[in-house]
Symmetry: C2
Subunit: 261 residues, 2 copies
Amino acid sequence: MDDRPIGVFDSGVGGLTVVKEIIRQLPQEDIVYFGDTAHLPYGPKSFQTIKRLVRDNIHFLLKKKIKAVILACHTASAFTLEEMREENPIPIIGVIRPGAGEALRVTKNKRIGVIGTYGTIKSGAYAKELKRLEPEAFVIEKPCPLFVPLVEEGWIEKEATRLIVREYLEPLKEEEIDTLILGCTHYPLLKKEITQVMGEVSLIDSARATVGRLKRILEEKNLLAREGVPRHSFFVSDAPERFARLGKIFLGKEIEKVERV
Amino acid sequence: MDDRPIGVFDSGVGGLTVVKEIIRQLPQEDIVYFGDTAHLPYGPKSFQTIKRLVRDNIHFLLKKKIKAVILACHTASAFTLEEMREENPIPIIGVIRPGAGEALRVTKNKRIGVIGTYGTIKSGAYAKELKRLEPEAFVIEKPCPLFVPLVEEGWIEKEATRLIVREYLEPLKEEEIDTLILGCTHYPLLKKEITQVMGEVSLIDSARATVGRLKRILEEKNLLAREGVPRHSFFVSDAPERFARLGKIFLGKEIEKVERV
């Protein structure tokens, strides 16, 4: 047993979909969240800048005596996971491998779509991982950069949103994929609109798959926390009020305290 | 006469609409542009962070021996103009006062709308300036945060864009404004869609008004450059390729060289 908290890192609020999954799958665990809101979004930044920021942010979380870290930011996972694992003494879990693994367990025709920000798609990280695990997989990737601002504006059930979802996803539908990876922590909030366009296609929620992976690691290493009332702490590098306001959309409940560091 | 370049600062590519206006109104002038792309967007950042960034960026431009600076970033203009003027020895021109002045020259019924990012609207900077210059003005402000991602995605003439423009602007139309300030450097690219919704309303392009103000200052202080082939230099703090790609949409022509500093 290990009562130290789980660290969750993201560039902004999106990683709260991971927090929501931890609360669902591992309700006894303490959580320390860090959102690097002073530097978001990571997508358009260079590799060097992203690596420097992720390193700084993991150091901040390590000072909070965490037992594991989830890199909930897809850009950070795509570009820095291996190096961060080499540099740090605790388990570091990215969001890309669990999502890719889950997609391959679910697909029947091995035709898989991936949607994400420009940064994530440009990295090719999902395609590489899917091909590594299953060389015969057919993978089609598509950046959907308007989804994040739509979700952050709270425009979920709107006609404009439906048109945008359709325009982005129609080309994937034509490729007859049977599985679609939601390769961005914001996208699960658009599940309903995405299903309306994609029909019978299985949607892979990377937050859910990632927390499933975390749970197995904690079990294997005997690091699960004891039963008790969990503490959830939220830190950001800038604009805590905005984080708290948007956070409510993602977490589905009020965030009582957000600390600026 | 003064052949030193004009400095233009923005958090990203949007300030290139100001560069385009300088080239139109002051074609003989050298220009040094700095886009702080490592830290964009400024809108959601705190006042302290914005001030620190703007100070650093003006220092960078001063090292390039400029004779004047335009703060093309509305957030920077709204929050830091007075302090930057006190701290620096050259003319510093924001985008808010020139836009407000132009709106008051154009309006007949003194009912003026202002659209911008959350940061700009939350600052209330346009409303304060309009009220200071004309206490009887009726001002209605509206944040349109989806316009920037739509423009940056190149989604100008799309049905979804028209729906979003309509949803944001219908409430302004009902207020019977006769003048609308485009309070964000990205918005002039949506002029056509905005006109379709707003009809006969006069649109105030703050980039155009700001460069008009710059021109008068350079004339008054005898700082205009001599005739010659102008040099335009572009610097960014991150991701120069993305800047060059997006920059083409704003400037209407290829940007040959973008240097990362």
